[in-house]
């Protein structure tokens, strides 16, 4: 077979390979830049009591899940039972970031569905959310006791996500802390 016959087929095959790779990628998922970075500095009011300020330092000292949610966020309801379970079992401290919400709406939502959070940061104007590179809710960050972001979960935490991805990250942090002490 002559080269001119093989060439178009070859070009076609190369295109197929590139497009096949392209199809396996989800363009709506933006890879996070935040892994292994410090939690950004912030100071924002608490949801229940706006007079109390929550600061970066409040997150340090304990492994924490920082969970971005809002009463407007439908997918947040999907992960809510998992968070409630984690909170009942006292598995890990969960701090909420109530994002672009109205205070009253958030309070009603928590009353209806339960409150798994140790503390809730009220971020009405995306101040903290942008600093953390968040693109949508729900998103959850695993922050180690030194205040370093170790993992980011985009989308709801289902029991499978918890068992397969987040739990191992937390176990690794625990092992690390024990080795260091």
């Amino acid at each position: 077979m002559s080269l001119s016959r093989i060439l178009p087929v070859g070009v076609f095959l190369i295109l197929v390979v590139f497009m096949a790779i392209g199809l396996t990628r989800d363009p709506s998922v933006i890879p996070t830049e935040m892994i292994d970075r410090e939690m950004p500095k912030f100071e924002l009011p608490e949801l229940y009591d706006p007079d109390i300020a929550v600061r970066t330092e409040d997150l340090i000292g304990e492994t924490t899940l920082v969970n971005v949610f809002g009463s407007w966020c439908v997918a947040c309801l999907q992960e809510h039972p998992t968070l409630m379970q984690l909170s009942r079992d006292r598995t890990v401290r969960i701090v909420g970031v109530n994002w672009r919400d109205k205070r009253q709406d958030a309070l009603t939502w928590l009353e209806r569905h339960g409150d798994p959070y140790a503390s809730i940061i009220f971020d009405a104007e995306s101040d903290l959310v942008i600093e953390m590179g968040v693109t949508g809710a729900p998103e959850t960050f695993v922050v180690d006791p030194r205040g370093r972001i170790r993992y980011k979960q985009i989308g709801p935490i289902t029991p499978d996500v918890w068992d397969d991805t987040i739990r191992p990250v937390i176990d690794a942090i625990v092992a690390e802390t024990e080795a260091a002490s």
């Binding site: 363009p27 996070t32 007079d51 300020a53 104007e125 995306s126 942008i130 693109t135």
Partner: protein, 227 residues
Amino acid sequence: MRSIVLSLLLVLASTIGVATGQTGEEIDARVDALSRSLSCPGCDGTPLAKHEFPLATDLKTMIKDLVEEGRSDLEIRKYLFDRYGDAMALSEIEPVSDLSAEEIKTRTETVSKTLRCVVCQNQSIYDSNAPLAEDMRRLVQKRIEAGDSDEEAREYLRNLYGDYVLMSPPLQMNTILLWLGPALLVLLGGVWFLSRLHAAPTASEAALTEEQRARVAEALAERDRSA
């Protein structure tokens, strides 16, 4: 005697600094920032930082004390608003830099047009109505007001969201095919076309073999006869 009192005061001051973990510069910077973002009774809504009359200096000292005690900015603001009410509010936001409002607006626009909205990814944050895009625009404006160059403001967001947030991808190793691909294709096409052009004459010469010519001649002769 006086020197003992002075040195005692110095020791006291330094222990306060250590207790809250702030250096003198940090404290001054926070006091400065706070007194720019607050007004005062008698300041008519202008920043407290601009005034030197007795109450104004007292308020500044009070802010400094609170900062040294380790209170947060939010607590200090609340503390002052509780005591002086709306008199502490600025009548308009005082820009930190000396840029004009018009300049800030146009530069925010220019930068916003080059940043991708992370919610609706085919729009810039300038075009998008998404609430997050709105907040990102405000952040760009804040950066510019704080004295960032356009490039620095862009870098700030790129640092948070990665290359994805830039509307036009930067020329770097993982985008080199994207940038050079079209030129490469044109080049390859050109080479292919030229090589075909040179090959063409030989192909047309061989279009008919002797035998085919003979058959054509015969067919023509046949038609002439039957006409």
